[in-house]
Every structure is written in C-alpha cells, then in structure tokens.
C-alpha cells in the first residue's frame, strides 16, 4: 500500500509562554519559538508505517509512506525526523506560514495526490496550534474519496480499510473502499490499534509512536526529499481564511488557600459559581 501522510510543525506547547502577540493583535510573533511535529500527525505517520509493514519485522518495508509538509526550509527538520522514523520519502511545498490556510493546503494536497496516486491519505485529525480540524474533510471532498475521521483503529482488508471511530457511548466501524482518506485520533497508537494484512492479529505494538535510533536518523539524511512550489499546485493562492485579531488568554491568577471546607463550598458557590 502507498500512503500519503501530511505533516505540520507546531509551536512546542512547552514553550508556549514565549509566544508574543504584538500590539494590535494582527499577528502572532513566532520568532524564537521551538517547533515540534503536530502530535496527531505523528500518530498518523505511526499508523501509516504500521499499515505498510509486518509488525513482527518492521525493518522490511511492505509498502511506501510519503510525508509532505508545507513551509519554509526549516520545516525539513520535521520531514527528516519522519524519514528517520521510517517514512520512505518526503516532499516539502515551499511556502511561508502566512501564505497558507486550510483551504489552500487542502487544494495543494489534492494536486499532490493526483500526482502521487496513493492508496490512502492518513492524517492527523487536527493540528494542535489552530485546532481547525478541516483539511482532512476538505481534501476528501476535493478527491471525491470516502473518508473516515477520528480513527481509533484501522484494519487493512483487500481493497478497503476497516476503521473504528470512538463516539459517545460506543464505537462506529466503517468500511471505506480504497482509495480513502482517514484522519486519526490519539488512540490509533495503542498496541492493537492498527493491523496491515501482513501483521498477525495477535501481534502487539509498543504503546505510542516508535522511536528513531541514531543509525536511522543518519540514514534519513540520504532519503529523497523533493521540493515543490505552492504555485505549481494551486492556481488560486488567495487566502480564504483571514484572521481578524489574536489575543493571549488571560493570565492565570495565583491560587489561594481556604481555611476549611465550609469556606471552600462558599467560594465555589459564590465566586467560581461552579456549584
């Protein structure tokens, strides 16, 4: 199976206090931020790798995983990390962050899918910076492909994927015919969440996303990484989403100590108004 996995880098939430919003709130100042891959995208990559291997012999690839990201040259770090984890090749669409919105990215991904003809697109359900949760759905629409969002489990069948989605009170299982688009939720990296056709059904993965060892990190430097221009993929590059204003969340007030339960209850009732 050939799978396309879009990846986005997001500001490291551990350094969130470094995010600055210049006066007026028109933009976010990203200078000095540290970046990491969007966690849901890392889960998508892990799911794609599991779908293209026999879990018992992960060093032998049984398919192809192509990772793609949008952004400036520095974003190649995100791609190299994915290649070190096991992806086979990478594409960077050169663009500045402020040239992109969900609509443009979805259209550009469509153009890449047309070119690469993968059997599936597996992607994170959302990026943890803007939390938009749109691109998967828009891309499926552009492609006219079946989609299964918020996947918690994926099982490969002949010409289809069986996708479990956790919903309130139960699990919905969808069978999507390939080619198909799947967006994943965090449980997709549990030990028994994903099975390719080759992987035995009693096989258990380590919980979470796999680690890249140093030899793989070094080897990743030699894996193919192509660069595309945004204008080659989309004709209309006008932004559909415009941000009107950014505001920092109100800073958290220091806690207080209450002297007894009675005071706690009073304050919860009258000040916090939660009971």
């Amino acid at each position: 199976m050939k799978i396309l996995v879009p990846l986005k880098r997001v500001a490291d939430p551990d350094n969130a206090n470094k995010i600055k919003i210049p006066a007026g709130g028109a933009t976010i100042d990203t200078t000095g931020l540290e970046w990491k891959p969007n966690p849901f995208d890392e889960y998508a990559l892990e799911a794609a790798l599991r779908l293209t291997e026999n879990g018992a012999t992960p060093k032998t690839r049984g398919g192809e995983v192509i990772v793609v990201t949008f952004g400036p040259k520095e974003c190649e770090t995100t791609l190299r990390a994915a290649l070190a984890t096991g992806a086979d090749r990478a594409i960077r669409v050169d663009a500045k962050d402020d040239e992109l919105d969900g609509s443009i990215v979805a259209k550009a991904l469509r153009a890449i899918v047309d070119k690469e003809k993968p059997d599936a697109v597996v992607m994170g359900k959302q990026a943890v910076d803007g939390d938009s949760n749109q691109i998967g759905q828009m891309l499926a629409q552009h492609l006219g492909w079946p989609q299964a969002t918020f996947a918690a489990t994926i099982e490969e069948e002949d010409g289809a994927l069986l996708v479990g989605r956790e919903v309130d009170g139960g699990v919905i299982t969808l069978r999507v015919k390939l080619p198909a688009l799947v967006t994943v939720d965090l449980r997709i990296v549990a030990p028994t969440s994903v099975y390719s056709k080759q992987t035995k059904r009693d096989f258990k993965y380590n919980d979470g996303v796999r680690f890249a060892a140093l030899p793989a990190i070094m080897a990743a430097k030699k894996k193919p990484l192509a660069e595309l221009k945004l204008a080659e993929l989309v004709s209309d590059t006008a932004l559909k989403v415009q941000y009107s204003r950014f505001e920092a969340p109100p800073s958290r007030k220091a806690g207080i100590k209450v002297k007894d339960v009675a005071e706690l209850v009073t304050r919860l009732k009258n000040e916090a108004k939660v009971i």
């Binding site: 060892a213 140093l214 070094m218």
Partner: protein, 380 residues
C-alpha cells in the same frame, strides 16, 4: 539553549529522549528517588528506543554516534524525567564500557558490549577503594596470576550500579606499587568470591544504587584482562577525561532544570500582592543563573568539539568540570532560595537537585584533583 556542536541528529535524539522520559521516567521520578532504585526493565526499554547506547559503534549494537549524542540524550532525560539518580544509574555503562572498547580484544568487545547496549546486562566501573580515591595509583586490590586465572582480593567502594551490576570493569594491582602496577579486569556477576558488600545511603542521586564490592579469592579468567598487564593506569586516565565531560554535561542539565523550575515558580507564587517575578531582585537572580548556565554550556560544548576533533583535552575537561560543578551548585542553591520554604521540602524537585548537585565536585575526580591536573598541564 542547545550546544553549538548540535545538528539535526542531536535534535532528533533530544526529541526522542524527551518523549521517552516523559512517558517512562517522569511519572515515577519521585517514587524511584524515594525508593532508592528504579526498575531493571528500564534499561531494555531505553535500549529499544535507541537511547541507551547511541554513542557506541553500530557493530556492537550501538547507534554509531559520539560523546555529543550521549550528552544530549542524558540532558533531555534529566530535563524531562526529573530524576537525576535514574539517569546516572542508567548511564554507568558510560564509564564501564569505554576501556573495553578502547583496549579490549575483538572477542572481549563482542562478549561484553552488545548485551550491555541492549539493556540485558548492567555494567559498572570500580576504581575507588576505601583507602584510595583521589590517589588512584595507591589502590590496593590485588590480582595475582594463577595459571589461567587472576585471583582478586580487595574492596571497592562508592560503585555506581554496584548492587545490580552484571559486569564490573575493575582496577586491580597486578604489579608493583604506583601507577605502573595497575591493570583493568572485567569481573562478572556470579564469579565465586565476588559479592556486593552493602548498598550505601547517600546525600543525593537516590534512585541510583551505590555499593561496596568485595573480592575474596575471586578467580577471574585471565582472558578478562583488558589491554596489557600493568598498563591499566593510562586507560583509567583516558576514561576519566570523557567521564568528566559527561559530568559537566550532567551539571548543565541539572542546573537548566533547576532554573526552569524556579522560573516557573516565581511567576506563579505571589508575595506582597504580586508575583515574585515582579521583584527586580528576583528577576536578576534568574538572570545570573541563566548567564552562568550559558557559560558552563559553552565551555562544555567546546571541550566536546575539541575532543571529537582528536585533541587531547585533560586540562580543558577538568576546567569544564569545575566550571560546571560550581555553576550547578550555585544555580541549585539559588533555585532552592527562590522556592522559599517549599524549596526545603522533599516534594519540590529543586530540593532533590540541590542534593544531587553536591556529588559533582567530588565524583569522577574531585574539584581539587581537577586543579592538580590543570596545574600539571599548565606547567606549575
């Protein structure tokens, strides 16, 4: 901040180490520190993640990296795991294996190294004795040749990972007095006559076990001799240089963690109607801490770079160790101070770091011995 020598490969390892420590160390840090031990499975878990032997050759199951890779992995494990004891316990192979890799035969390397790198076996280094610490050349544990064996008699003390070690790289006296009579011998767990004397209670590094090791008529196969007989002292000294760089890196990491903890605390803690961080004197304290960390990091990074270029660095490594240990003691002390009474309580991470920091001007060669090395190299 990162070291100037770092590239993408270090960044990738940092990310992995951070993720590993958040999942597998941080949730248990306090419990393991209080219990004085971490579970043995952690070695193989770390190895599976490619983080145990990243700086050893691939031929022996390692990651093919260098000292710099090991250093940044340890830093992230300390920063995200918050249990220095666990990280130094996991890392005792870093002083036990290099002599085997440097001077061991192909057969010895193949026999001892891969099973340590895979996390199956625990390795320790035993040089210090009750009667000889700084004065390594004065060690008294003897190894007398008897046919195809050495018969080892003596006691080693303060040995990191000593209670659980499966193989111990031991400094022994095979010849006359002084440094010219010292050799290195690998003693394996289960060898009759080799016992763990006692587990030692310490000021810091609680999650790392430290032990006294006793050898009584212990018969070790002569094939376990590392390098040539009576040439062990040089191996010990070479090993010390890299250990000191590593300890300096530990200090940078510990101080960075103490600084981060303090920085977060003074933002949230209020006194006199405002956050502590609103007082200029508090902010200046943080600025001094950050400056001294940056200076020690710069020097430590420089020694790594020079060492990797092949320059001999004993004096610079000693300077880096002293600079980093002084810095770390200062920064941890300031962090405790900024926490006020909470900094004296066992619940706070800085209380533990303050105790952990105290080891570094002693272990791996004391502050005074570092100065002796610097004097010798500088020629006065």
């Amino acid at each position: 901040m990162t070291y100037l020598f770092e590239d993408d490969s270090h960044a990738a390892l940092r990310a992995s180490a951070k993720r590993f420590a958040e999942a597998h160390i941080a949730p248990h840090a306090r419990a393991w520190e209080e219990a004085g031990l971490f579970p043995r499975e952690l070695y193989s878990k770390l190895a599976e993640a490619g983080l145990h032997g990243a700086s050893y050759p691939e031929a022996h199951g390692g990651g093919g990296g260098d000292l710099g890779h090991g250093l940044v992995i340890a830093e992230e494990l300390i920063l995200a795991g918050k249990s220095v004891g666990t990280v130094v316990g996991l890392g005792s192979h870093g002083i036990a294996l290099p002599p085997i890799l440097a001077a061991g035969t192909a057969a010895q390397r193949a026999r001892f190294v891969p099973r340590v790198v895979s996390g199956e076996l625990i390795a320790a280094l035993a040089i210090t004795e009750p009667g000889a610490g700084s004065d390594v050349a004065g060690l008294r544990t003897t190894a007398r040749r008897d046919g195809e064996h050495y018969v080892v008699d003596g006691t080693k003390t303060f040995i990191t990972s000593g209670t659980r070690a499966d193989l111990v790289t031991v400094a022994v006296r095979t010849g006359g007095p002084g440094h010219a009579g010292v050799s290195m011998l690998v003693v394996e767990r289960g060898t009759p006559g080799f016992t763990v004397g006692k587990k030692l209670d310490k000021m810091g590094w609680w999650a790392s076990d430290t032990a006294e090791l006793v050898f009584e008529g212990c018969r070790v196969p002569a094939s376990n001799l590392i390098g040539d007989e009576n040439l062990g002292f040089l191996l010990i000294m070479q090993n010390f240089a890299t250990e000191r760089i590593f300890l300096a890196g530990n200090c940078v990491a510990i101080a960075e963690l103490a600084y981060r903890e303090a920085r977060a605390y003074v933002r949230s803690r209020e006194a006199f109607g405002k956050p502590l961080a609103a007082f200029q004197v508090v902010r200046h304290k943080l600025a001094d801490m950050a400056s001294r960390i940056a200076a020690a990091r710069a020097l430590t990074g420089e020694v790594v770079t020079r060492h990797l270029r092949g320059e001999p660095v004993p004096a610079l490594a000693a300077m880096a160790k002293n600079t980093a240990t002084d810095m770390c003691s200062f920064v941890c002390d300031q962090a405790v101070q900024l926490f006020g009474g909470a900094g004296y309580m066992r619940e706070s991470v800085v209380e533990r770091l303050y105790r952990d920091a105290r080891l570094y001007p002693i272990g791996g060669g004391t502050r005074e011995i570092m100065n002796e090395i610097i004097c010798k190299v500088e020629g006065y």
